[in-house]
């Protein structure tokens, strides 16, 4: 069953935020792998080969997430992986241009924290299709 599930790497330095989002995504049948900083996020993505990366921006004292995204784009096999940025630094739209030369791809998306879970799920599902074990078939199996 796990081989069928879509894999998501979640990079966020707040354990509680990550735990909550992970539980929600697992509930909807996704396989979630967590990293707490940009560098280990990239390493994890290299190993896990995720279908999607959820990335925080400010980790530690700087905008580590941005560097991690650029590193992902330089990693063979991960150049095209969709990155959804989830950060509290945006009130609505990011204030910078989302252009390919800065490492952003057209299918990347931006969410503000706290994240609107149904909206996030809708975007992920639109990008990847549903998680394998949907809520209806697998009620209550969250970890």
């Amino acid at each position: 069953m796990s081989s069928e599930r879509k894999r998501i790497v979640l990079v966020d330095d707040d354990d509680d935020f990550a735990a909550a989002v992970t539980a929600f995504l697992e509930l909807h049948g996704f396989e979630v792998h967590r990293a707490a900083d940009g560098r280990s996020g990239v390493t994890l993505a290299k190993m896990v080969r995720p279908d999607l990366v959820l990335m925080d921006v400010i980790m530690g004292e700087r905008t580590e997430g941005f560097f991690a995204v650029q590193n992902l784009r330089r990693t063979p096999g991960l150049e095209q992986v969709p990155v959804f940025v989830i950060s509290s630094v945006y009130s609505a739209e990011p204030q910078f241009k989302v252009t390919p030369e800065r490492g952003w791809l057209a299918h990347d998306e931006f969410f503000q924290k706290p994240v609107d879970l149904p909206a996030l799920l809708k975007s992920i599902t639109a990008r990847l299709g549903g998680g394998e074990g949907a809520l209806a078939t697998n009620p209550g199996t969250i970890k």
Partner: protein, 384 residues
């Protein structure tokens, strides 16, 4: 500024004068000083040259046909007030020179002048320009830091709030079942921890603001450090015991009178003691000592903890800086404790220093003014 290679940092100086001989001699003096010199024979061409070349300094003759020197000075000043203008004037026109300075000229050289006279004025003018540009840059940097700081504080405050919100939101979507019961219990606990974190952050933030405004350190009375410190050590003994840390307290038996605010001093030492317990190792020690030395009070709080790496030693007193590392990960903190300590010590006319060895421990040393009682017949007695 002239750098070693003499080219890259070469500053440009413009000379505007209708008198060929005067232009030539100015050119020679200034070129010898290492400047790139451009000359123009009238005001119109000169102004065009100035806006194109963006020189550091302009030497302008006041008496020229066409656009006069006064007008040239005013227009240059309008174009870029940081360009230094020096006017050349005959003795008869010193009144006009004063007008030129009102229009923004830096100084004037009366004709005839020696190379040295011009050199001195040019150097002084450029020095002033450098100072002004430096302070302008510093002001911009400070402003940028202020703005970043506000962004950073709101991020710090928002982080726990986001975590709590996200837990509640997921709980709402959670289907009933044994897993949900377990999650609910676990997450409720976490929500409480995070709201506490936020409370503490707001509290520390306010404290910092109050200390900064002087509101928390208003009193200047005699505060005996001896009972204050031993009382704090007693009060924190449970916390220390839970962390497996032993505390010792060595204070002068006849007391150590500090001059300051009792509540602020208590806050200062409590912060240091709590840190010493928190950032210690199991079976570690905290040694508190206080003594009068060279006319001031010295209070030391030494731990046997993880130590502070050298690159953090200044920064730990800055807001929100927390030392990264294996040992520090387990502890929670707002990153405002030491900034509060530093501000309190400073407001009370003291200083706080630290000495640290990674893996061995850290000693914070607070030096504060002693209370000196006025010697009267009534109080002069057992005082040493």
């Amino acid at each position: 500024m002239i750098s070693e290679d003499g080219v890259r940092d070469q500053e440009t100086v413009v000379v505007i004068d209708d008198d060929y001989a005067m232009r030539l001699s100015c050119h020679q003096i200034l070129a010898k000083m290492g400047f790139r010199v451009e000359e123009f024979e009238d005001g119109a061409r000169g102004l065009e040259g100035v806006s194109r070349l963006k020189p550091s300094l302009v030497v302008v003759d006041l008496k020229m046909p066409g656009i006069g020197g006064l007008e040239v000075v005013a227009r240059i000043h309008k174009l870029d007030p940081e360009i230094i203008t020096v006017v050349i004037t005959g003795f008869a026109t010193i009144g006009t020179a004063v007008d030129a300075m009102k229009s923004g000229a830096y100084d004037f050289v009366p004709k005839p002048f020696s190379p040295d006279e011009l050199r001195v004025i040019v150097n002084r003018g450029l020095e002033r320009r450098r100072l002004r540009l430096d302070s302008k840059r510093h002001e911009q940097e400070r402003e940028l830091m202020r703005r970043r700081f506000v962004t950073f504080v709101s991020h710090q405050l928002r982080t726990p709030l986001v975590a709590v919100h996200q837990y509640l939101d997921v709980l709402k979507h959670l289907p009933e079942g044994p897993d949900a019961v377990e999650k609910r219990a676990e997450w409720m606990e976490r929500c409480l921890v995070r709201t506490d974190e936020m409370q503490q952050l707001i509290k520390d933030w306010l404290t910092l603001a109050e200390v900064e405004g002087g509101a928390l350190t208003r009193e200047r009375v005699a505060v005996d450090a001896a009972p204050l410190l031993s009382g704090l050590v007693d009060r924190l003994s449970t916390m220390a015991a839970e962390a497996g840390v032993t505390m010792t307290c060595q204070v002068p038996e006849d007391g150590l009178p500090l001059l300051g605010d009792a509540a602020a001093l208590s806050m200062l030492f409590e912060n240091l003691l709590v840190n010493a317990i928190k950032y210690n190792r199991a079976e570690g020690r905290v040694a508190v000592t206080a003594e009068g030395r060279d006319g001031e009070a010295v209070v030391s709080v030494a731990d046997t903890g993880i130590g502070i790496p050298e690159e953090y030693r200044d920064a730990v007193f800055d807001e929100f800086v927390r030392v990264k590392g294996e040992g520090a990960k387990k502890t929670t903190g707002t990153g405002l404790g030491l900034p509060i300590c530093k501000r309190i010590a400073g407001e009370l006319g003291g200083v706080i220093e630290l000495e640290s060895h990674v893996g061995v421990g850290t000693t914070f040393r607070v030096r504060l003014p002693l209370h000196r009682p006025v010697q009267t017949a009534a109080t002069a007695g057992g005082d040493a």
